[in-house]
Symmetry: C2
Subunit: 352 residues, 2 copies
């Protein structure tokens, strides 16, 4: 049983180096405390089968020598990556969205052992591709993603595979999953109302990216409802949406505003696009606040300074990032998905 090579190994083991240069491991602590690594491992995670005195001693040593668990070791053994992956498309023109989202998420993660990795994809590629990659290689414990669609294959896939995730935006698939969303229906509804209050009667909206993305529908719903209630006329812009290049938005806008039945009120759901709209409106020789009123959502606060006449509503994307991060983390911790769904509401006062 205890052959000589066993002894040799032991003597090799005894030569634990406690040199300052090397990074401490459980073995280091075990050696210093005169305990086995198993005990140390458990003591550090407050396991019930370890004596209180031992726990204290081990935890003190760990703190003193600045022990931090080796992530590769944990990951290899347990499969837990301690990584949250933010999947986003790399050409979103929504100004300030990406950075604020990143900041919001990392604000939350920095209080935890989790790291944030960014996995981008381009709109030309299959949005499923990065998702599949993450799942197949097990490279994250949780996923945050945006551009959520009513019937989103990513949501279906991740749910089937039991991977925790949270979406920015909602689905309409009857699958309960964590999300955070801005109430775009209320935004569109209130926006139109505030235009009506200014006497505007012919109102248009620059729509969300494409009907494929859910919030497009919410905007549309709120818009139509408000138009109907107000007995106004709703116009749809053809040929442009929030994903269109700003240059094309500007040009198309000029066309529309010089055309026969131009709107006198406009709702826009992105600050960047709003700037292009304004450029187009002014190129047509019209004045914001006089010939036409513009309400826009913005995620960065330059719009109001751009043209003080624009009615703006601030969407706090950083807050969304925080909410989403918290949601995935709690989902990972086993919290029911239905408890991890939240909405941000537009503040009616901002839209007056």
């Amino acid at each position: 049983m205890k052959a000589k090579d066993d002894n040799q190994r032991r003597s090799g083991e005894a030569a634990v180096e406690v040199t300052e240069g090397e990074r401490p491991t459980l073995k280091t602590i075990a050696f210093m405390a005169g305990l086995g690594v198993t005990t140390v491992s458990r003591a550090l995670k407050d396991a019930p089968e370890i004596g209180q005195a031992t726990k204290n001693r081990v935890q003190l040593i760990a703190k003193q020598i600045g022990y931090r668990p080796n992530r590769a070791g944990v990951r290899l053994r347990t499969g837990k990556t301690n990584v949250i992956s933010l999947v986003l498309n790399a050409q979103s023109s929504i100004m300030g969205l990406t950075s604020n989202m990143v900041y919001g998420i990392s604000e939350v993660l920095s209080q935890t052992p989790y790291h944030l990795t960014v996995t981008p994809y381009s709109l030309e590629n299959d949005p499923m591709q990065p998702i599949r990659y993450i799942v197949e290689t097990g490279s994250a414990d949780g996923i945050i993603m945006s551009r959520t669609e009513p019937d989103d294959p990513r949501v279906r896939y991740l749910t089937e595979h039991g991977i925790p995730f949270a979406t920015h935006g909602r689905t309409e698939m009857g699958i309960e999953h964590p999300f955070h969303d801005f109430d775009n229906e209320a935004f569109a509804y209130l926006s139109v109302k505030s235009l009506l209050a200014r006497g505007r009667r012919k109102i248009a909206m620059l729509a969300g990216p494409s009907p494929a993305v859910t919030y497009y529908r919410h905007l549309d719903r709120g818009f139509s409802r408000s138009i109907e209630e107000g007995g106004a006329v709703g116009v749809t812009f053809s040929g442009i949406d929030v994903d269109t290049s700003l240059g094309r938005i500007r040009d198309r806008m000029e066309e529309i505003m010089t055309g026969p039945n131009r709107p006198d009120g406009i709702v826009c759901c992105s600050g960047g696009a709003a700037i292009a709209l304004v450029a187009g409106i002014e190129a047509a020789g019209l004045k914001i606040g006089e010939d036409v009123d513009l309400v826009s959502k913005q995620s960065t606060d330059v719009l109001k300074w751009f043209r003080p006449q624009i009615i703006v509503f601030n969407e706090d994307v950083r807050h969304a990032g925080r909410e989403l991060a918290r949601a995935v983390l709690r989902r990972i911790a086993g919290v029911d998905a239905r408890e991890l769904q939240s909405l941000s509401y537009p503040d009616e006062h901002e839209l007056r």
Copy 2:
């Protein structure tokens, strides 16, 4: 020696599951090819001591079953993380900088086995803190960071520890390290020149974040040189810089432009700040292009539409991200730091 439990273990080992559900490992391939894992490992990395026929066979199987090395395994064994960490401060007001940087970097990394993680810190905290964390925990193979200072402790620390990194911006420490920088000196120089060409004589600049950051000095150098050559008057804004909140920049600007000796030409190094400047200028009752001319660098293209009279120069941050990513990767591969230093030059034509 070969006790009964030894046999049990072996028989357990023989039952390599090639079920579809589980992720394939080297063992899976080894079993399928009737080889040892060692051979498979080597065959996959084209080691010279493996026969060509074997290599082909192994690589074919690997491709067929979609084998991807387990990152935790590799990382634990070799210490290689396959991670590049982008360290950035989480309140940079430079519009579009963060997102474009992230996109540029991931564009390059997506062609490699590297992942991108984002490690933010707030300006109130010690910028060394995230760097130390990464080095101490060995959580990245390379680092990309910005807000580079002339005498940057992070550069010193990373160089001493032999961790590959690339900076956005230069140092002045006599340490050769990879960087990518925009030639801010040329930008300031040309900006002033273009203002002079418009007949402006009293020129001010909204400075970089603080003299602590290197590009502040470059801007200053180019500015002074150009002012001197043109025999003009240079004014320094006091109390505001590019890090100041946009609201304060606006207010201070209004003050300055209604004051006794207001400038008639302004150089600004950030698009976001430029918008605040414009707001202040207009609040003072002045018109851009008439009473005063404004040249600004921008990393997102809204400025020109904001006020067509602004003279803009586009800094391609996405390109910077690509350059930085390539630089760290090549540095990791052992390329000499001096070969990994690049500059982007402002195009004189843009500033006319």
